[in-house]
């Protein structure tokens, strides 16, 4: 409450105090524009990070929990080998459950490639066994050796081979997104420091007069800080809205695993971009304040 009312008082400001520093149209517009552009980029970086986060979560979850055993054998032996595999799995510690996919399920998996009328039972296609691990997991190498002995046609496909690099890539992408946001914030701070520095330099005469009539540093700094904070806030708010609209307009597909079509915010994650203008304002506040006090300290 206290913080909110202080913030409101800061925004309303002292209109009289604000007038003591002459308006600077050009640098003001530049600050607003840059803050807006930075916010737009930050929203994208955030969407990237959050999408990568979701993806990594899903993949590593699937990675940790399930694997598949593929049994390729002549039709005559297929049934026996499937039983052998299931028996081995039953005796393997770390396996929560295992079951052979039914013909219908296999047909559903193959349908996109071969159409709906595939006679699965008559074709020499491999049978699939889905394995769900316990939290501890099983010893993949040991299981492979036992399967080789009991059911020579069985191949353990524990997904690790192809999913681990994907999870690592998703994790890397997520990190990259946050690094990009940090860099965007840092360059916003640098840009505002420069803009505030040049505004302070351009107003040396004004500052001198204000000091002469007894203005405290805090009073002088506030006039600048308030301006740059409000400029960054309004620019970043506009940039954030534009960024959110752009993200919302990206085409989405139902396939949650696909990265390109999964880029965006989901559910409560839509609240995340709203932090961008706040961060921009806080950054501008401190950047200007530090620049102002450094400049004022150098004057008499």
């Amino acid at each position: 409450m206290n913080v909110v009312s202080r913030f409101l008082r800061f925004v309303q400001g002292d209109s009289q105090a604000d007038r003591v520093v002459p308006p600077t149209g050009y640098s003001a517009r530049l600050t607003v524009f840059t803050a807006g552009a930075m916010a737009f980029l930050a929203v994208f970086a955030m969407a990237l990070s959050l999408a990568a986060d979701r993806l990594a979560d899903r993949w590593s979850d699937a990675l940790a929990r399930t694997s598949t055993i593929r049994i390729s054998a002549p039709l005559a032996e297929l049934e026996a080998q499937t039983w052998a595999v299931l028996t081995v799995l039953e005796q393997t510690s770390g396996v929560d459950s295992a079951r052979a996919l039914t013909d219908d399920e296999q047909r559903a998996l193959l349908e996109p490639w071969f159409g709906p009328d595939l006679p699965v039972a008559d074709l020499p296609i491999p049978r699939l066994v889905e394995v769900v691990e316990t939290a501890e997991g099983y010893d993949a190498e040991g299981l492979r050796q036992r399967l080789a002995a009991e059911a020579p046609g069985a191949v353990l496909d524990d997904h690790t081979r192809w999913r681990r690099p994907l999870v690592e890539a998703a994790n890397g992408l997520r990190l990259l997104g946050w690094v990009a946001i940090a860099l965007i914030l840092a360059s916003t701070a640098a840009m505002i420091t420069l803009a505030a520095g040049s505004a302070l330099a351009a107003n040396q005469g004004v500052i001198k007069v204000l000091r002469l009539v007894g203005a405290r540093d805090n009073y002088i700094a506030r006039a600048f800080v308030r301006r740059f904070t409000l400029r960054a806030l309004s620019g970043a708010a506009a940039g954030t809205v534009a960024g959110m609209i752009a993200v919302a307009l990206l085409p989405r597909a139902g396939d949650e695993q696909a990265f390109l079509t999964g880029l965006g915010f989901s559910g409560l994650h839509w609240l995340w971009p709203l932090t961008v203008p706040v961060l921009a304002a806080v950054t501008a506040f401190w950047a200007t304040r530090i620049a102002a006090f450094r400049t004022l300290g150098g004057l008499r």
């Binding site: 105090a17 002459p22 007069v209 002469l212 007894g214 540093d217």
Partner: protein
């Protein structure tokens, strides 16, 4: 109020002023004369801590200037009205707001002060120019505005650097009368000026000490002034 003890100042390595000892007692009235370039403006700047002495000590309201924080200095300046030689204003604000600036920056702009402001602007003859911007003023108008700004805060000390340099004799006397009035109300006044006629006119109204800067020192001027 303001005390200098063995104070010295030099812009470069050469000292410009040295062995300056002076006490501006409350309610005193001083004139400061001396040839151009002798250091009158420099002396005044020492008095409001715009410059810090390179030697000796300067005290403002019992505080050692060198030890004052920037906020202390700001607070002291709210008690010192300064009329700058090259009157500095905020060129984007009208004259009336410039005159009220000390009130604005100290957060003291109230209804009563606004009434005082009106009266003061009338006093220095700027009522018709109150909404003009400072660059549109004549030299004399600027000086009158600077004087008005220096006294708006009802300061304890008034330091005026050539306050009558650009105004006619009649206006000079009016400004002098204003300063004498303020002195009679108990304010400490110091005026740096070349204008000996002004000093003589003042001596008829108030008991003023006349100081002369020369050769880097301050002396009490002779009785001929």
């Amino acid at each position: 109020m303001i005390e200098l003890e063995d104070a010295a100042y030099g812009y470069g390595t050469e000292p410009l002023l040295s062995e300056i000892g002076l006490r501006l007692a409350p309610g005193s009235f001083h004139f400061l004369t001396g040839p151009s370039g002798a250091g009158k403006t420099t002396f005044l700047r020492l008095c409001y801590a715009d410059l810090l002495p390179t030697g000796g000590s300067v005290r403002l309201f019992e505080q050692e200037a060198k030890a004052m924080s920037r906020d202390d200095i700001a607070k002291a300046r709210q008690r010192i009205g300064v009329v700058h030689q090259d009157c500095q204003f905020l060129d984007h604000l009208p004259v009336a707001e410039n005159i009220a600036l000390p009130l604005t920056v100290s957060g003291r702009k109230t209804g009563q002060e606004a009434a005082n402001l009106e009266e003061l602007i009338g006093w220095v003859g700027l009522r018709a120019r109150a909404d003009a911007l400072p660059p549109e003023l004549s030299g004399g108008e600027r000086q009158r505005a600077a004087l008005a700004r220096a006294v708006i805060m009802d300061p304890d000390v008034i330091l005026a650097d050539e306050p009558t340099g650009n105004v006619d004799w009649e206006m000079s006397l009016r400004l002098l009368t204003l300063l004498v009035e303020l002195n009679k109300m108990g304010k400490t006044v110091l005026i740096a000026t070349h204008d000996l006629a002004l000093i003589r006119a003042a001596k008829a109204q108030v008991s003023a000490r006349v100081l002369r800067i020369g050769g880097g020192r301050i002396h009490l001027a002779g009785a001929d002034l």
